[in-house]
Amino acid sequence: MEPIQSITSRTVVLPRTDIDTDQIIPARFLRTTSREGLGKQLFADWRYLPDGLPNPDFELNKPAAEGCKVLVGGRNFGCGSSREHAPWALLDHGILAVISSEFADIFRSNALKNGLVPVMVDDTTLQWLIANPGVEVTVDLATSTLQLPGGRLVAFPLEPFARYCLMQGVDQLGYLLSKNTAITAYEKRRA
């Protein structure tokens, strides 16, 4: 995982609530044994027409979405299944942060483990971002703030451990493995 300090990008906005993981990547694409290359299947049923060509009306296909690293989605983003293919697909497409007013628990946990930053903001800020697609924002990890045009800062929650892992590019398995002595002691106590 690459260390992340901050992300500055224009936003691409999906103005829908309850965007579930079946939309982020449909189940028929989970028959893979790899985590690579899922970006082309991101939002597949919204993004492509039945003939396989890009749907020109879908937000991610519009010219303005080109190169956007920050996705804005409605409340309860990532609800549904535990598939980590959802953050894998977003990252592979080039999305590095998602802004919403609420994230589903498993999606948020999966996102943090892969360097996709979930930015939870209040509803007023979210509605402003939805109403103003394409604005440039900066997600800053050290201060856990989202900077809006004009310099206004909005704080978002980020646990210290998750922040440390994102900023250092540390994967959490190494930390868990370092607790081996405590795990062994626990196993002995329970046996």
Binding site: R16, T17, T32, T33, S34, N76, I106, P160, L176
Partner: protein, 470 residues
């Protein structure tokens, strides 16, 4: 005397290897790790890349369910899978389990089935355990008073390598269900009504404890249906405190404690209740006696109404009109009498023996409507055998339904059992998201009773209309 604790708190504290601090999450020990073919290949790749072993193969159990075919000739006849990538995923799981020494219920095993059906069936699911799986419906196992939740593939790797997870403690939500469910109203209707009430994000960040006389009156299959769909309210997990019903279900099961160990275990399990005076972060009250058979009309499980009711005339849900357009419904339209093309009885929500009995009770001596396709997919090979011993399979096939081998099947269509574009599927599964059962498929979630009644009439039907003469 120590402070009163909730059931969740008790189970959590038993599993803290390293407690949570202001700077670091807790290291939580996992008692049972269930694995399947879809969400594990990339986790085993991580183990290989880092030269790690599976720390506790004795606490790890594999099955194959999501991608597996349900046609007998493909499961037992050696006929090729319809989808090559599905076959590859199954082979990969076999290789991984062999190489890492993990027990696997393979394709032809008589103990194979949906991961959340076989854990309880084997008695591996027990009160007080921490249970995880790379599948959001792991919440099912909370019906036994276990703390059970879905995890991502990176976390599957964490558990394989360390038998532990990094977790921050969830908040608690008590849902107290008073009164009694009326005849023809099932646990599925109850949980759909609860999701309709609190919303699909209503449980986010929380572990739900289902309490009250209506929950106590449910059998284990029904409690599993309720806990299964906790995740559809966004909850991290759902739990029911264990009681005599729980113990009676587990006693004698192959992986439940035996002899003196059983008595010791039950004595311990009896302590796994929320203490009087313990407080929850939130509480919600529901009256079971006011609930009717329910059916979803939209594109998430919170878009739900009574079968006898209507699609709402208006809604403040910003995706309301989009959902109606996808479903081909109009605002305010009556639900009963609306056409159904496909009926699916199955999934980790409603594929257990009592679900099949309920559906068969409606179908006995009847035939499904012309033009309706009906698939009945038992949750496990054991359930299939028990159902056949009772003659349920004949009732289904005589009625014109297809009787299949176990698996997730049409719940998410990964194995090729899909619903066609624009078709209405009355399904006992758990998710009615756009495209969930196939590209453009329109899913209507309901109970096995409602599914069977709707299959007979070919339209959405209140099951009580077909139960009056029984």
């Amino acid at each position: 005397m120590s402070a009163p604790k909730t059931l969740f708190q008790k189970v959590w504290e038993r599993h803290e290897v390293v407690p949570e601090t202001a700077d670091t999450p807790a290291v939580l020990f996992i008692d049972l790790h269930l694995i399947h073919e879809v969400t594990t290949p990339q986790a085993f790749t991580i183990l290989r890349e880092r030269g790690l072993a599976v720390r506790r193969p004795d606490l790890t159990l594999g099955t194959m369910d999501h991608s597996t075919p349900t046609r007998t000739e493909q499961v037992f006849g050696g006929q090729a899978f319809t989808i090559a990538s599905a076959a590859n995923q199954v082979r990969q799981l076999e290789t991984n389990c062999t190489e890492f020494g993990v027990e696997l219920m393979n394709l032809t095993s008589d103990k194979r089935g949906i991961v959340h059906v076989i854990g309880p069936e084997l008695g591996a699911t027990q009160p007080g355990k921490t249970i995880v799986c790379g599948d959001s419906h792991t919440s099912t196992h909370g019906a036994f008073g276990a703390l059970a939740f879905g995890i991502g593939t990176t976390e599957v790797g964490h558990v394989l390598a360390t038998q532990c997870l990094l977790q921050t403690r969830a908040k608690t939500l008590a849902i107290t269900v008073s009164g009694k469910l009326r005849p023809g109203v099932s646990a599925k209707d109850l949980v759909l009504a609860i999701i309709g009430k609190i919303g699909v994000g209503g449980g986010t960040g929380h572990v739900i404890e289902f309490r009250g006389e209506a929950i106590r009156a449910l059998n284990m299959d029904e409690r599993m249906t309720v806990c299964n769909m906790s995740i559809e309210a966004g909850a991290r997990a759902g739990m029911v405190a264990p009681d005599e019903t729980t113990f009676a279900y587990l006693k004698g099961r192959p992986r439940a404690p035996q002899g003196a160990d059983w008595d010791r275990a039950v004595a311990d399990w009896r302590t796994l209740v929320t203490d009087p005076g313990a407080t929850f972060d939130r509480e919600v009250a529901v009256d079971a006696s006011s609930i009717e058979p329910m059916v979803t009309w939209g594109t998430h499980p919170g878009m739900v109404a009574a079968v006898s009711g209507n699609v709402p005339a208006t809604s403040d849900d910003p995706v309301f009109s989009r959902a109606l357009e996808y479903m081909g419904f109009t605002a305010g339209q009556k639900l009963s009498g609306s056409p159904v093309n496909v009926v699916f009885i199955g999934s980790c929500t409603n594929s257990r023996l009592s679900d099949l009995r309920a559906a068969a009770g409606v179908l006995k001596g009847r035939h499904i409507a012309a033009g309706v396709q009906m698939l009945v997919v038992p949750g496990s090979q054991q359930i299939k055998k028990l159902a056949e011993a009772e003659g349920l399979d004949r009732i289904f096939t005589d009625a014109g339904a297809e009787w299949r081998e176990s698996g997730c099947s049409m719940c998410l269509g990964m194995n090729g059992d899909t619903v066609g574009k624009g078709q209405y599927s009355l399904s006992t599964s758990n998710r009615n998201f756009e495209g969930r059962q196939g590209v453009g498929a329109r899913t209507l979630l309901a109970s096995p009773l409602t599914a069977a009644a709707s299959a007979v009439r070919g339209v959405i039907t209140d099951p009580r209309e077909l139960m009056q003469d029984r």
